[in-house]
Symmetry: C2
Subunit: 359 residues, 2 copies
């Protein structure tokens, strides 16, 4: 087991990474202070790992209840969030009740937001069961839900007590979801660490094959990099925006198609190709680097061309993105592997990129 | 104009108290950084003070929009909160958009919670137009909405940029709402400052008559006391619980009758009588002090007897209160004016208090 510490002062927490961690009572014990625990999971994950988690918690002698939500990004809504509140109030959960998010990014985001809001804040533990949530949404404290007019528009910055990233849980991950997680690994290398990007290119087959050692290394390095960025900018005032490389275009794809049509990681994979195209077009990135991004996105079985939403719809959707200010879209572009810049872009260049990178 | 500063480090903010402040552009200017403002108000307050506020903002050259919500505690729900989000997204509000809460406690709590959640946090200004919200909900950063199973169960601790408490706005306050505000003034004196409690007894007629000088003093002293308590315990770990004197019983009354039947302050007025009764019954408070509380509650035209919900329903409702832990109700009791204690209470004593203080 490897542990990455996210340094956030009194909100610091550990990320434990390794095989078969869900069943280890000792990893949960230090982080559950009250007398009750509510596990929040979904209809896909509960049959796979719910019993293992409940068995791990049993020796702690807590009152344990489970809320099973419908699966999928389409359910990341007020309505589903309210099912968590209904269950918490129904079981008389108090301010010391610990929530445990058992599932992927949607479960993590909703459980974290529920924990942030229930009685104005109760503790929670993340047990991410997808590669995407292990490398991405378990670090940084971003929680929230979608609104019909924009993704993750309603939420909170709220840190977990701990993250238990069980690499073993990735064995049951569908290939599309594995690829979606690899997209965030690629992003992390691209924006922050050229040597890690080289490593990803060299190990893409091992990652695709779900080899535990490669996955553990990818999760560890991604978490370290993200933790370092977040520690410098917890509430997204500046630096942290670089983590949204590929996300401005990606969010537009997700919102434009309707959440759940493409996986978040698939949209980010394609979004990185689009952002790299715009980076080259504006003279910031060389063509060879763009080609390496396209190649690794394809090698990870991710889409490298966006859907045909129409250019004006893309622009509309990007203007409502949280990073936009006064309607001006801020693009996260690449100068070279490990170096980004954040800038507006001329309409013509954006239009040209959309023409070149959508079907 | 008097200014009370709430000392919370980087989240510190001023409370300006005085007559006709809503129309003063200079009070708003320092606290609006972005290019747009969204005023959140209700159908009662907008016709009274909406134009004055919009005129005050006009010289700042911001894009100003207004969301008018239905009036009343019954609307402090997810559904109404979503109207704010719909409006913000519809007007392309961004992370620098400032929300202004123009109204009483319900508007303040909902606007504050919307500000806490919209894009994971945007700035907001409180313009409380009721005595209750001026003395109570504008200090402390508590925001939130109700759930059918409990009041203020979903929310956040989130501080405003500034509070503009316009005493002039109280002229249009219905007598019941004025009395409800005086309840929180009485509470503040009772728990924290015997001399202030004496002052309230001596000035209760002036407060009932809505005399500006008396109201300004009551608001100032209440805010100072609450600000001091909150500064010592921002997230309600301990000391801050004393501010809930009268609220454990009061919340049960509100929830038991259905939110909106009694005003919050009316329930707190009666709740203080009940808490004083329990304090005497458990040997903490002398009978003469209890009688002074009953007398001042009556003099403020507040109900001093609770509705007949049945004792077991009262207990059920108090067990789900946020201050309860593992089902044990924590009562805030009085030892003398200015001194409280927080304790559990034997069932028999609670039953006797309910028998003695309900109709």
């Amino acid at each position: 087991m490897i542990t990455v510490n996210v340094e956030l002062g009194e909100r610091a927490y550990p990320i434990h990474i390794g095989a078969d961690l869900i069943s280890q009572t000792a990893l949960f014990a230090p982080h559950i202070a009250g007398s009750s625990v509510t596990i929040v999971t979904n209809t896909t994950v509960d049959p796979l790992y719910g019993d293992a988690l409940r068995s791990a918690l049993a020796p702690l002698g807590k009152q344990v209840s489970t809320v099973v939500l419908p699966d999928g990004e389409a359910h990341k809504t007020w309505q589903t969030l309210n099912l968590i509140f209904d269950a918490l109030l129904g079981s008389r959960a108090d301010r010391k009740t610990t929530l445990i998010a058992l599932g992927g990014g949607v479960i993590g985001d909703m459980t974290g937001f529920a924990a942030a809001c229930y009685m104005r804040g109760v503790p929670f533990i993340q047990v991410p069961t997808t590669l995407l949530s292990q490398v991405d949404s378990s670090v940084g404290g971003k929680t929230g839900i979608n609104h019909p007019l924009g993704k993750n528009m309603i939420g909170a910055f709220y840190q977990p007590q701990a993250v238990i990233a069980d690499i073993g849980a990735l064995r049951t991950l569908p290939p599309r979801e594995l690829a979606a997680g690899i997209a965030e690994v690629i992003k992390t290398g691209a924006i922050a660490d050229a040597a890690f990007f080289d490593w990803i290119e060299a190990n893409i087959a091992a990652l695709n094959a779900c080899e535990p050692a490669a996955l553990a290394e990818a999760v560890k390095r991604s978490c370290e990099i993200k933790a370092s960025v977040v520690a410098q900018d917890e509430r997204e005032g500046g630096l942290r925006a670089i983590l949204n490389f590929g996300h401005t275009f990606g969010h537009a794809i997700e919102a434009g198609l309707g959440y759940g049509e493409w996986l978040h990681g698939e949209a980010v994979g394609c979004g990185m190709v689009m952002a790299a195209d715009l980076s080259v077009r504006l003279g910031h990135l060389d063509e060879a680097s763009r080609e390496r991004i396209v190649a690794v996105v394809k090698a990870a079985h991710l889409p490298e061309r966006g859907p045909d939403l129409g250019a004006s719809r893309y622009v509309d959707l990007m203007q409502v993105d949280k990073k936009a200010e006064g309607g001006a879209i801020k693009f996260i572009l690449l100068k070279r592997f490990g170096e980004t810049l954040i800038t507006r872009a001329p309409d013509e260049a954006v239009q040209a990129t959309l023409a070149a990178t959508t079907v």
